[in-house]
């Protein structure tokens, strides 16, 4: 198996799927000649030509709306929105239209499409290049939302997303693009949408996260064990919509304590939903309030202040300890 970073793993998934299925078409800003601003589509224009890899004008609603039309015509569009904050320019097309063709036509019309986008902060990028808008999609039923945290699963989930018969928003933690390398097999690998993964098992507390925060959570868990003899179970959601409630509940029933971590603002975030489901399904197993370590309810600051905005190992570790003490 070859060591690959996230960018290479995603590129592999796109290349191999495009080779297997010529209905797959890529479109987005600067994804052709440029290979994408993060190089995820590098080399695909040369390999598959301008009819399958389309550089688009600066036109997010156009990219998403065109993808809907391509999908309705039987193709399998994989669109790139250059940064996930720009999804808001296309949210009517994505959340009100792509998401509803199936339901409004009782399955007669289907929109199998993927919208990929670099997501989240932590790379000293410009304003509006650091958004974590995943919870917004949870209020727009008909969409699925996948947020991988590491190269191997990311590749397997992108394959699943491309083959999914419904619109999938695939958010790529840009902070992870080049920071982690993993064994990613050349052979096809697919990981089901909707399944969370227990990436570290533990007895005292359940730590739930997704995306770039997984690394901080794993470090915090390791330190909790080493410095405080706290055994932490870490769950990587991988898919945030629909959520794998069963895995969450089983773990919390076992540990009785839970901390949720995400970069997005706190209010009405994925963390709130996790807490609501724990409340509904295993409230009386809780020995302490579920703690939220999240971005604050303020706009993501310009990068000189971002490290004070983002959750980090210290914040997560403290939350773990407080949750155990209470």
């Amino acid at each position: 198996m070859a060591l690959r970073n996230l960018v290479q793993a995603l590129n592999l998934a796109l290349r191999q799927e495009m080779e297997k299925d010529d209905r797959i078409v890529l479109l987005g800003e600067d994804i052709g000649r440029q290979g994408g601003v993060f190089r995820v589509t590098e080399g695909l224009l040369d390999r598959f030509g301008p009819m399958r890899v389309l550089d688009t004008p600066v036109s997010e609603a156009g990219i998403v709306g065109t993808s809907i039309g391509l999908a309705l015509a039987g193709l399998r569009p994989v669109a790139e929105i250059q940064f996930s904050g720009f999804m808001f320019n296309a949210l009517h097309q994505l959340g009100l239209l792509a998401a509803r063709f199936r339901s409004r036509s009782r399955g007669t019309f289907q929109v199998p499409m993927v919208v990929r986008s670099p997501w989240g902060g932590g790379v000293r990028a410009l304003e509006l290049h650091n958004e974590s808008e995943e919870a917004v999609y949870a209020q727009l039923p008909g969409l699925k939302v996948v947020i991988p945290s590491r190269p191997r699963r990311a590749r397997a989930l992108l394959v699943a997303s491309i083959r999914d018969p419904d619109p999938v928003v695939f958010l790529e933690p840009k902070r992870v693009y080049r920071s982690i390398r993993e064994e990613v097999p050349d052979e096809e690998e697919i990981f089901p949408i909707g399944e969370a993964e227990i990436v570290r098992s533990g007895r005292h507390l359940t730590l739930i996260t997704y995306g770039s925060m997984l690394q901080d959570c794993l470090q915090a868990a390791e330190q909790a064990e080493r410095l405080h003899q706290i055994s932490v179970e870490v769950i990587d959601l991988l898919t945030v919509v629909p959520m794998d409630t069963a895995t969450i509940v089983r773990s919390v029933q076992k540990t009785g304590r839970c901390v949720v971590v995400h970069e997005a603002p706190r209010s009405c975030g994925i963390g709130a939903e996790i807490i609501a489901r724990i409340n509904e399904q295993c409230l009386f197993h809780l020995q302490a309030p579920v703690a939220r370590v999240t971005g604050y309810d303020i706009p993501y600051p310009f990068f000189a202040r971002e490290q004070s905005y983002l959750p980090n190992v210290a914040r997560i570790l403290d939350a773990i300890r407080r949750t155990l003490e209470s």
Binding site: P57, G65, G69, L96, R106, G107, Q110, P165
Partner: protein, 369 residues
């Protein structure tokens, strides 16, 4: 070379059938009599259906719906230029064109009766379901057309939208992308002079809507939208260009909404009756009937007979629609959100099952317009 002209553009206007149904011989296309008669049949059907829906709405058997009265010619005339494998992307006043393509009356009724069943079209119709979000469908048409280009098939897609829709960003992005990729799409703007209460003159400062095509590097033309022949000829030229790989065209059809915006609207708030009368004189169906009679293809008796026949078709469709509505299972709204319903959603469905409410009763909507 200090100050020089670097580009020049013109916009044309086309009318073939005058208001008395007399055709301009030089421009008149030769369509088979059967087609001419079918066009008539479908325009009349659309108008009778409109009347019926108005009554159904007043009886509370149908929700708010947009009247097509006076606009029966434009989209139908354009669709005449299409092949069955070309896509039609309608707005919500394309009844005559959709019926011509073969959409069952029942679908139109069910849609305005508030049932998703109205959007269950058989795929070979190549019609997208009626959109609600103004302007949004124009981009979908570009995607359909681009797919044909990618497949190297010579199908085109034809999309309909109103004068108001041209103000939306979606329309702009659709036209720009269509131009860039030279996608085989025909943009048909049904300019009925109003967007609810806002008159055309306040929708855009441009002298014509057709000239908006200049912004995207393709051509636009204005046609008499109450003249089936002009719409057909303009569309035929656009379709031929598109099939030849010469890209999109924008056709502006000048017509008028003789009725209210929807059954909930009162046009007296924003326009003069006199204006309406001017346009009533240009009624597309009267005009077409005169054209047919002049050629000895049609008589008053045939008209009476036709209307009886179509009324019966409509009666039958209403029965079917209401029967289907009565059968409808509210709970299955959970079954079509995803190809495979996720476990938590199945749990919500079980929860909902305890409270299913058949919506027989029709409360009058608070909405006014």
């Amino acid at each position: 070379m200090p100050r020089k002209q670097v580009a020049q553009f013109t916009v044309e206007y086309l009318q073939i059938l005058d208001e008395n149904g007399v055709a301009d011989r030089a421009l008149e296309p030769s369509l088979p009599p059967a087609t001419l008669l079918q066009v008539h049949r479908m325009m009349v059907l659309a108008r009778l259906l409109d009347r019926r829906m108005t009554i159904l709405q007043q009886q509370g058997r149908l929700g708010t719906f947009p009247s097509v009265l006076g606009q029966e010619a434009a989209s139908l005339g354009c669709v005449l230029a299409l092949r069955p494998d070309d896509w039609i992307v309608p707005c919500y006043r394309e009844n005559s064109a959709l019926l011509y393509r073969g959409l069952p009356i029942k679908n139109i009724l069910l849609f305005w009766m508030g049932a998703e069943e109205g959007c269950v079209y058989s795929p070979e119709l190549r019609i997208l379901p009626i959109p609600i979000l103004i302007g949004s469908q124009t981009i979908h048409a570009v995607g359909l057309a681009l797919a044909a280009k990618i497949h190297q098939r010579d199908e085109v897609s034809m999309v309909f939208f109103g004068d108001g829709a041209t103000s939306e960003g979606d329309f702009h992005e659709a036209c720009n992308l269509a131009g860039v990729y030279q996608a085989p799409v025909i943009f048909v703007c049904i300019n009925n002079q109003y967007a609810i209460s806002v008159p055309r003159s306040q929708q855009s400062r441009s002298e014509t809507l057709a000239q908006k095509a200049i912004a995207y590097g393709f051509s636009g033309i204005v046609v008499d939208g109450n003249d089936v022949l002009a719409c057909y000829v303009a569309a035929r030229e656009a379709v031929e260009r598109a099939r030849r790989g010469q890209g999109p065209t924008l056709i502006e059809c000048l017509t008028y909404r003789l009725g209210p915006h929807t059954s909930a609207d009162d046009p007296r708030r924003y326009r003069e009756e006199a204006e309406r009368q001017v346009w009533e004189a240009r009624d597309p169906i009267k005009r077409w009937q005169a054209y047919l009679e002049r050629q000895g293809l049609w008589t008053a008796d045939q008209q009476a007979e036709l209307e009886r026949e179509l009324q019966a078709e409509i009666d039958q469709a209403v029965r079917l629609a209401e029967a289907e509505l009565a059968q409808l299972d509210p709970l299955d709204m959970f079954d079509y959100v995803y190809a495979e319903t996720p476990p938590d959603l199945l749990a919500q469905k079980r929860e909902a099952a305890e409270y299913v409410r058949p919506d027989a009763s029709v409360s009058t909507p608070a909405r006014r317009s």
